[in-house]
């Protein structure tokens, strides 16, 4: 069967049989790099298109429909336009930091890609502290945003960046705590182990109430962490015009824009991995026939399907809710989400110790 796992194995074996191991490894590095950059570009373009279509239908519009069938090449055309645009650097900006910031944001988004399992045995880096790595790296992106805001020499950008800093630092807590509850249930920090532990059912079903609560908290927290509406304080276009990337134009702006969508993809992939079993097909207890049919669907489709489902949920939020105010945003975190997630962690521990899950 032609699956991602087989392809990688074939490439790996071919390289190792024709070259010496060092060159083979180097080639694999390059291949992985090229593959992930390609994935980035494709993901960014398709997710932007998806967002625009979802928004349009919810707003009783048609959305992009001129470039290509159903407008699928619209985002490509937009990116080409952005590439050709002049990248302005405002007067008085710190040129070095100003140019660096979009790349930092982009690199951080790329780094998080490493431990994510896209399909069965298809993972760039199976690190045994995968979850820890994820939460460590994902909090780095705020540096890029702060850099952009500070270096722009614009008050709007500065305010947006400061808001973003406050926001990401606070929501990191409850995101971490809700991830922890799954770690408590699994007993492992490795992404692979977490997925394998869901062979007989996804955690959101197996661990019922605590998992559901932590999933809701997780979704809220990552929406805030990726600066998406209703928590898009950093960009808040009706207040700060465009927040931290007010002064960016051309390709630098496009990098920020793409990074936003990559970040959404990644956090949704994490959510799918932790709560919905990653590439694990849907298995229901003793329904052997059903389980067998489910196994026929390739694992990569399972993973992508779950991730896109979660991405849709986040988009749904964006096109339904108004934005919070900055103090309400922090209130929500410190007064509601943090106490609830702490309590939930206790509950999860209790469930895990007593074995009250299926």
């Amino acid at each position: 069967m032609l699956s991602l796992e087989n392809i990688t194995r074939i490439i790996h074996e071919w390289l190792n049989s024709h070259f010496n191991p060092a060159i083979a490894l180097d080639t694999e590095f390059v291949l992985v790099g090229v593959a992930s950059i390609t994935l980035f570009a494709l993901l960014g373009l398709s997710l932007v298109w998806m967002e625009r279509k979802v928004a349009a239908v919810m707003q009783i519009r048609l959305g992009p429909n001129r470039v290509g069938p159903k407008g699928i090449f619209q985002t490509t055309a937009d990116t080409l336009k952005l590439l050709m645009k002049e990248g302005l650097v405002p007067d008085g900006a710190d040129k070095f930091l100003f140019n660096l910031a979009p790349f930092i944001v982009m690199i951080v988004a790329m780094l998080i890609l490493a431990p994510i399992a896209f399909a069965k045995n298809f993972q760039i880096w199976d690190i045994n502290i995968g979850v820890l790595y994820l939460s460590a790296i994902s909090s780095l992106s705020v540096i890029g945003i702060l850099m952009a805001g500070w270096a722009s020499n614009s008050k709007y950008s500065l305010l947006g960046a400061m808001r973003s800093g406050a926001q990401i630092v606070s929501y990191e807590l409850s995101a971490g705590l809700s991830v922890l509850s799954i770690v408590v249930l699994t007993g492992s920090l490795s992404i692979k182990d977490i997925i394998l532990s869901q062979q007989n059912g996804w955690w959101i079903f197996k661990a019922h109430i605590p998992a559901l609560i932590s999933f809701i908290i997780f979704i809220i927290a990552v929406t805030a962490e990726t600066n998406r509406a209703p928590f898009d304080m950093a960009e808040a276009e009706s207040e700060l015009t465009a927040g931290f990337h007010t002064e960016y134009s051309g390709m630098r702006f496009a990098l920020f824009f793409l990074a936003e969508y990559i970040n959404i993809f990644i956090v949704c992939a994490i959510g799918a991995t932790l709560f919905f079993g990653g590439w694990m097909p849907l298995h229901i207890g003793s329904w052997q026939a059903f389980n067998h049919i489910m196994d026929y669907i390739p694992s990569s489709i399972w993973f992508l399907g779950k991730t896109i489902g979660l991405i849709f949920l986040i988009m749904w939020f964006r096109w339904t809710f108004p934005r919070l105010r900055i103090d309400q945003l922090l209130n929500l975190e410190w007064k509601y989400l943090l106490p609830i997630s702490m309590f939930n962690l206790l509950l999860t521990s209790l469930v895990a110790i007593m074995g009250w899950y299926f």
């Binding site: 928004a55 919810m58 707003q59 009783i60 519009r61 008050k155 709007y156 305010l159 808001r163 509406a229 209703p230 898009d232 808040a236 276009e237 009706s238 207040e239 700060l240 015009t241 096109w319 339904t320 809710f321 108004p322 934005r323 919070l324 105010r325 900055i326 103090d327 309400q328």
Partner: protein, 371 residues
């Protein structure tokens, strides 16, 4: 701007909101002084769309000047035209036929609904929810279609003339309006589900931009802004013009005076407008739609003042006539101008997000402020 920087203390952040800014819906320019995110001072700078309509009107005849007033508060252009027509009629001492009065009032109320609809969408958009904007336009579109069929234009209609209205109603007018009312009633639930009931929206609006009754009067606030603070200031009730004294409707007043109260007042006003239209629609009397007037209108020497209730508040038309064919001086008392002056008082000490919410709830139309 240099003087302003001189007047502030160290650590203050001065930000220009506008003249190009997504939340000002036009070219309003606010210079705000911030301490962190807290607003210390708001100073409006006007004039970016000042066309000096008052001066222009001095050289236009009494028939001609009405069309310019559509460009003041373009969202309630019918009502502006109505005010001017009424003021000229007051000077000429003619009364339009009953049919014209009915048509005028129905058109006014349709305009009011369209204006409030647009405001509803824009308000939600100010707070970051985009979807309601398009949903609001769906209903508004039916009204502009009705306007287009009868008046020939969608926004700046110029349908009211001294002595009545310019043209007979479109044959399908009644059916269209009934269809609109039906559509609106079927969609009204959506408004509360999508926006009004939303917990984020309520938190953003409640106790934000509070204006007490005394302040509202002192700042000259009128319309929904005044009524949300508990000031009974509906000109349609207090100084009825045309046939407003014959129709039954409630003057909506709230007491909180915050942004949410202003929001509620406007939504309830839409329903009152529908109530007015429903009362009048079936009973439009037969007859002329225009009184016989001379080709060249000459107002007697004197001063004439007409107050009407636009979607934003009290519009005053003050004509000073020297007896000629053109006004000697004309003054438009625009509701937005006075409402804007209360903005600083409302938002002092609040956050930037609150400024946007309060500004949105004032329903500012910048050409109306600048004139």
């Amino acid at each position: 701007m240099i003087e302003e920087i001189g007047r502030t203390t160290e650590g203050d952040l001065i930000i220009n909101i506008g003249p190009q800014h997504p939340a000002t819906h036009g070219v309003l320019h606010l210079v705000i002084t911030l301490n962190g995110e807290t607003i210390k001072k708001v100073e409006p700078h006007l004039g970016y769309i000042h066309r000096s309509i008052e001066k222009m009107c001095e050289s236009l005849s009494y028939r001609q000047f009405i069309y310019v007033t559509s460009r003041m508060d373009y969202l309630s252009s019918h009502i502006n035209n109505h005010a001017c027509a009424l003021c000229v009629e007051k000077g000429l001492q003619i009364e339009p036929p009953q049919r014209a009065q009915y048509i005028r009032v129905i058109m006014d109320e349709l305009t009011r609904i369209a204006s409030h609809e647009l405001w509803w969408g824009a308000m939600a958009m100010d707070l970051g929810a985009f979807t309601p904007f398009f949903h609001a336009f769906r209903e508004r579109e039916t009204i502009t279609d009705i306007m287009e069929k009868t008046c020939g234009a969608r926004l700046t209609m110029n349908y009211m003339v001294p002595g009545g209205v310019m043209a007979e109603l479109h044959p399908g007018f009644q059916r269209d309006v009934e269809r609109f009312i039906q559509l609106y009633k079927s969609k009204f639930e959506e408004y509360s589900e999508l926006v009004t009931g939303n917990v984020i929206f309520q938190n953003r609006m409640k106790s934000v931009g509070v204006l007490s009754k005394e302040d509202a009067i002192s700042y000259g606030c009128s319309g929904p802004v005044g009524r949300a603070s508990g000031v009974s200031c509906d000109i349609r009730k207090l100084y009825p013009y045309d046939i407003y004294n014959k129709v039954e409707f409630d003057e909506i007043t709230e007491t909180e005076g915050d942004s949410y109260a202003r929001y509620v007042v406007r939504l309830k006003e839409i329903q009152q407008s529908i109530r007015i239209i429903e009362q009048l629609l079936g009973n439009i009397p037969e007859g002329d739609f225009q009184a016989k007037t001379k080709a060249v209108l000459k107002l007697p020497k004197g001063e004439f003042y007409q107050r009407v209730e636009t979607a934003r508040g009290e519009l005053g038309v003050y004509i000073v006539s020297e007896g000629g064919t053109t006004p000697y001086r004309i003054k438009f008392r625009s509701p937005g101008f006075s409402n804007l002056s209360a903005l600083e008082h409302m938002v002092k000490g609040l956050k930037i997000g609150d400024l946007i919410a309060a500004m949105g709830s004032l329903d500012l139309v910048i050409p109306d402020i600048d004139r």
